[in-house]
């Protein structure tokens, strides 16, 4: 029983991070139909830049803020210099551009920062909390709370503000959005900035638990992608559900089968979703009136 609880706790923690990565995929996909495989690099950058900031003597909150702002700027640059110039290219080409961008970001990170593996200090100590025989790291609570806060904030943004509605409207029907005066290019820029900032925040939150290095982005991108597919690409609710489910499946596989198979779960999920229900849990059925 306490084993199970322990697995669930670690599953939810990792799942919250996957959910944030999946959310990043969702936002950019909605604005542009592009699956941005550089999403994992945003998480990596969030962790790595904060580590560099702390090493330079900055207090952790300031280092984290700088990391998030810088990563958001890198996200905007990715859109401006790599995606925007290729406007009108087939979506597959745009996706390949994002893969290229992720390799580029990884390379630059190695050179500008370093190739080492780093951890951030926990936000509020490392004394575990005991709950029904399971131990919970305080940092896990930070991760989960951070993810919840972001989802709530984004939900409010999309449903309560005109800018948020403009983003939704653009993803729903780009031409109609332009007709009412929405600058859809600006919506793209905003989406990349938001996704990058969310990825970076996820990186900051998780780095005290999972050590970071320049190469963690690939596996995070793949798992976030699996989570987004599982939830239904393009649906924020799906990103949350898919991320948590994937995290739980991984933790249970690692606990009850073998930790060697842990990373295979994500690939199994991608295949299963593609075969059985390609739209995912919350995927919509596209209908067009003619």
């Amino acid at each position: 029983m306490s084993d199970l609880l322990q697995f669930l706790v670690s599953g939810v923690t990792v799942g919250a991070v996957y959910a944030l990565v999946a959310l990043g995929f969702t936002i950019i996909y909605n604005a542009s139909d592009v699956v941005n495989f550089a999403q994992g690099e945003f998480v990596m950058l969030g962790g790595m830049i904060s580590v560099a900031g702390v090493a330079a003597g900055l207090p952790l909150p300031l280092a984290a803020l700088i990391a998030i702002a810088l990563t958001a700027a890198i996200g905007v640059a990715l859109n401006t210099f790599a995606i925007e110039p290729a406007r009108g290219a087939p979506v597959v080409s745009l996706i390949i551009i994002t893969i290229g961008a992720s390799i580029f970001i990884r390379g630059v990170t190695q050179i500008v920062l370093d190739k080492g593996t780093h951890r951030l200090p926990s936000f509020s100590g490392d004394d575990p909390i005991h709950v029904l025989g399971a131990t919970v790291l305080p940092q896990s609570l930070w991760v989960v709370a951070g993810a919840v806060a972001i989802f709530v904030a984004l939900w409010l943004f999309f449903t309560r503000t005109l800018t948020g509605r403009a983003v939704l409207a653009t993803s729903n029907n780009r031409l109609a959005a332009q007709l009412v005066g929405i600058n859809t290019r600006f919506v793209m820029t905003l989406s990349f900035a938001l996704s990058a900032a969310i990825g970076a925040l996820a990186g900051v939150l998780i780095t005290p638990i999972l050590p970071t290095s320049f190469e963690i982005g690939i596996s995070l991108a793949l798992k976030g992608f699996a989570a987004a597919m599982l939830g239904g690409m393009g649906n924020p609710k799906g990103a949350l559900a898919g991320g948590l489910l994937l995290g739980l499946m991984e933790a249970l596989t690692a606990g009850y089968i073998s930790s060697h198979y842990k990373d295979a779960v994500a690939f199994f999920v991608i295949l299963a979703v593609l075969f059985a229900f390609p739209r995912g849990l919350y995927g919509s059925n596209p209908v067009e009136r003619v």
């Binding site: 503000t161 005109l162 509605r165 409207a169 729903n172 109609a176 959005a177 005066g181």
Partner: protein
Amino acid sequence: MSLLQVEGLGISFGGVTAVNDVSFGLETGKIVSVIGPNGAGKTTLFNMISGVYLPKSGRVRLDGEDVTGLRPDLLAVRGMSRTFQNLQIFHEMSVLENVIVGFHMHERGPVLADLFGLPGSRRRARAAAEGARVLLERVGLERAAEREAGALSYGALKRLEIARALAARPRVLLLDEPAAGCNAVETEEIDRLICEVAKTGVAILLVEHDMKLVMRLSDTIVVLDHGEKIAEGDPALVSRDPKVIEAYLGAGTTEALHAHG
């Protein structure tokens, strides 16, 4: 100089001239209709005026400013809105939200204020929602405000699209077959709506197949055939024009346009 001035617009697709050298003007509060047999180039002309196609020749001027080929969002900012024959609706958003999005231009504040939910942002969102309800009432959709737009009937969607276009407070409104596919009652409602909108000082450019509607509403009618303007004038004049009758009914026919009504 008219509010909207179309000067010598022309375009061809793969060597076929779709529209050739069409000119006309549109004044504040007036309704101008573009009619013509199928394939005459009405929708193509519309798409050039509204920035969907880039014309090969000619200019579009809005209040004297050259707006030829500008992106739809930039045209909207300058006061030109349009609707589409095959509807451009945010199907997955509610009816109310569709119109709220239309207020984007006028109620939008700084993005950061919206991201962090500052009070000004909430006030603007409320103002947009109130404005949207007023417009929904005007087009007779206030009861459907909370429904998902995709669930509305065709005629209701047509009115929703007009309400959304009005939210942008256009000076020029381009309506592409607003009554197409509507039944008699729905056509009547749209007829009334267009008149009301024109009375508020909006210049309206209409493409429409329903001849009764066109004859009743228009101040001026522009007739296209094979991409060329063959007549222009008030309804009575145009309906007696032999060239127009010939274009619609074929050479040698003496029946007047009323047969179409």
